[in-house]
């Protein structure tokens, strides 16, 4: 990991318990200055809890959180130079859009007119100047979302926390906002901690992603690392689409593990520390790393019958049943399909992959 940029938020062995229930189990992670950092995980895994601990709304049961080197436990939320974009926006309903945006500035000591002026500038940044005088209830969901963003950005926090800010928007608007958020982060240079349960969103936007599940950190890394080199079954399954197959390891030889898929099929993949001969584990193969042909091709070829073709717009997804073995999903991009054969259901095909496409996973 590079150590040049300072650490914005350092979470050390943080535990959060609600009575008997442990919401976070010893989480440690460092978020770098000026980073777009994403907490990704299914609903209920503790993302909001961690964010609220950073903002100061929940205390830390055990462990510490440091903000630019200073321990912040004990500081109330209004003393932390951290702002939140709330999931439900939490805009002040009785204040105008401009007063909402100026609120934080005013609380930090700006005069009313200064707060209005600088609030207006931030509104311009999110392209809402013409709505300054409206009340939040007179705006659409997407506009409210941007007001919430402007309000949190206006006081220029050291770290901006965003709790699933886009989840209430429709797909098209969400995509547009993803790009806008990314730009805003670059322009302002503020460290963003972004929470989402949408893996695609996380992959699109983040410098680094922390994948969480059931209160535990599963993997932390760049989008590409997490997608290409998932550490465990949960991460492989949660991020993107994959063929997740249960296999038994037959032989390990020279760094290669030969795995039995059932029905007489076997695959060779790179051996992984901690997975020994005879154990039943999972392998993950991304559907787009597979290709079909009527004769064996590539390093690994498995024979099967086409069950179904599913047209997905950009891609074609083909489900292939290996003879007496598991199903495989193969994804072919429509742009490259022009010079490839489409196999109709019932046709006999070979599922091919290059070495390294199949990954052994610990559970």
């Amino acid at each position: 990991m590079n150590t040049e940029s300072p650490i914005a938020i350092d979470v050390r062995d943080a535990v959060k318990r609600y009575g008997e229930f442990t919401a976070l189990k010893k989480i440690s992670l460092s978020i770098k200055d000026n980073e777009f950092f994403t907490l990704l995980g299914p609903s209920g895994c503790g993302k909001t809890t961690l964010l609220r601990m950073i903002a100061g709304f929940e205390d830390v049961t055990e462990g510490q959180i440091y903000l630019y080197g200073d321990e912040i436990e004990g500081l109330p939320p209004n003393k932390r130079p951290v702002n939140t974009v709330f999931q439900n926006y939490a805009l002040f309903p009785h204040m105008s859009v401009l007063d909402n945006v100026g609120f934080g500035l005013e609380m930090r000591g700006a005069s009313k007119s200064d707060a209005r002026r600088r609030g207006g500038e931030v509104l311009e940044l999110v392209q809402l100047s013409q709505f300054a005088k409206r009340k939040p209830s007179q705006l659409s969901g997407g506009q409210q979302q941007r007001v919430a963003l402007a309000r949190a950005l206006a006081p220029q926090p050291k770290v901006l926390l965003l709790d699933e800010p886009l989840s209430a928007l429709d797909l098209k608007l969400r995509k547009a906002m993803q790009i806008e958020l990314k730009h805003l982060q670059r322009e302002t240079g503020i460290t963003f901690i972004f929470v989402t349960h949408d893996q695609e969103e996380a992959l699109t936007m983040s410098d680094r992603i922390a994948v969480m599940s059931a209160g535990e950190l599963q993997q932390l890394g760049k989008a590409r690392d997490i997608y290409e080199r998932p550490h465990n079954k949960f991460v492989a399954d949660f991020i993107g689409e994959t063929n997740l197959l249960e296999v038994s390891v037959d032989k390990i030889d020279n760094g290669h593990a030969i795995c039995h898929l059932g029905g007489g099929h076997s695959l060779t993949c790179n051996a992984v520390d901690g997975i020994d001969v005879g154990t039943r584990v999972h392998i993950s193969v991304r559907p787009e790393k597979l290709f079909t042909s009527d004769a064996p091709s590539g390093v690994e070829s498995l024979k099967g019958i086409v069950k179904e073709n599913i047209y997905l717009g950009t891609d074609l997804s083909t489900i292939i049943n290996l003879d007496e073995g598991p199903d495989f999903t193969v994804r072919t991009s429509n742009s490259e399909r022009g010079n490839k054969r489409i196999f109709e259901p019932g046709a006999q095909v070979f599922v091919n992959m290059e070495m390294g496409a199949a990954r052994l996973l610990v559970d």
């Binding site: 903002a55 100061g56 709304f57 109330p76 939320p77 209004n78 003393k79 951290v82 702002n83 939140t84 709330f86 439900n88 939490a90 805009l91 002040f92 309903p93 009785h94 609120f103 934080g104 609380m107 930090r108 009340k135 209830s137 007179q138 309000r151 949190a152 006081p155």
Partner: protein
């Protein structure tokens, strides 16, 4: 009446347009006979002439209103001067009711806030606890209050024993006693609407305020209070209006010198010394004042709503 219960489900509302009037008729009848009827009678009586053994003579004039506002000497033949007696009673009543309302607000708001922020399961219990004393008759409660407050009463005994005071405090027969009595009589009317408003309040707004560097006090003033304002206004009206016309607390706790509107009106209809038209006129004047307060409040709320989309 029974027909009303069948209107649920997917039936179009229009289906019952014809019968709706008839289903509402009993309510209209009750409202007419017990609200509008008596008011009309009062209005008419306020223009009649007083009969000496109580009751009225059917001669229309403005004597009752004249008596309220003007002093024409013992025999009624002097040049009219403003009669301050009743106006000052009204003024004092307004002041007493206002202070009682303020005290109710200061005590009632934190109480309501406290209840509304308890876990859902225990809220009903807290509300019930608040209303328990009010299952007892108002008269009995007010008399008990007198016992508590009097010079040799438990309050003074307690204060003396702790050494906070060395002379018993005289509370009974003072304005303070009246204000305390009114406050105690109507406190739930303050607590309940505010409770309802705070319960509706989205506490994440307070978190947003804290997140944006507002202290608790500023969050209360700038975010919580504006959001629950309709409840506060409703509570203030519900305490102020009955306090203004109350006669039990002023009579029992305030003594003769702390006369309020309610007692003045009550006296006009009691025994044979009364003056029915004058009592009716005093009531109509009180009613007009209350109406003005309500209309102003309603106007302001409507304007706030129009400006803000939602309050």
């Amino acid at each position: 009446m029974a027909g009303g219960s069948t209107s649920g489900g997917s039936v179009k509302a229009d289906t019952y347009a014809g019968v709706r009037h008839w289903l509402l008729a009993p309510s209209w009848l009750v409202l007419l006979t017990v609200v509008v009827g008596p008011l009309c009678i009062m209005l008419i009586y306020s223009f009649l002439t007083k009969e000496f053994r109580g009751g009225v003579v059917w001669e229309f004039n403005l004597a009752a209103y004249d008596k309220f506002f003007f002093d024409r000497g013992l025999f009624g033949d002097e040049a009219p001067r403003i009669e301050w007696t009743y106006i000052s009673i009204y003024w004092r009543s307004i002041l007493q009711a206002a202070i009682a309302t303020l005290v109710s607000l200061l005590i009632g708001f934190p109480t309501a806030y406290f209840i509304a922020t308890r876990p859902t399961t225990s809220r009903a219990l807290w509300v019930f606890l608040i209303t328990i004393p009010y299952w007892v008759n108002l008269l009995i409660r007010t008399v008990s209050m007198k016992f508590l407050l009097r010079d040799q009463g438990p309050l003074n005994a307690f204060l003396l024993s702790t050494g906070i005071i060395d002379q018993p405090l005289t509370i009974v027969n003072t304005d303070v006693a009246v204000q305390l009595g009114l406050f105690y009589s109507y406190l739930p009317f303050m607590v309940l609407p505010i409770y309802a408003a705070v319960e509706q309040y989205d506490h994440r707004l307070s978190e947003a305020a804290a997140d944006l560097y507002a202290s608790r006090w500023i969050a209360l003033r700038r975010v919580i209070l504006p959001a629950v304002k309709p409840g506060v206004i409703a509570g203030c009206i519900l305490v102020f209006v009955p306090s203004l016309g109350s006669f039990l607390a002023p009579d029992l706790l305030g003594g003769a010198r702390n006369f309020m509107i309610g007692s003045l009106i009550e006296d006009q209809f009691k025994g044979q010394a009364g003056d029915w038209p004058f009592g009716a006129a005093a009531s109509m004047i009180l009613l007009s004042m209350v109406l003005i307060v309500l209309i102003v409040a309603a106007r302001r709320q409507a304007r706030a709503k129009a400006a803000g989309g939602e309050v």
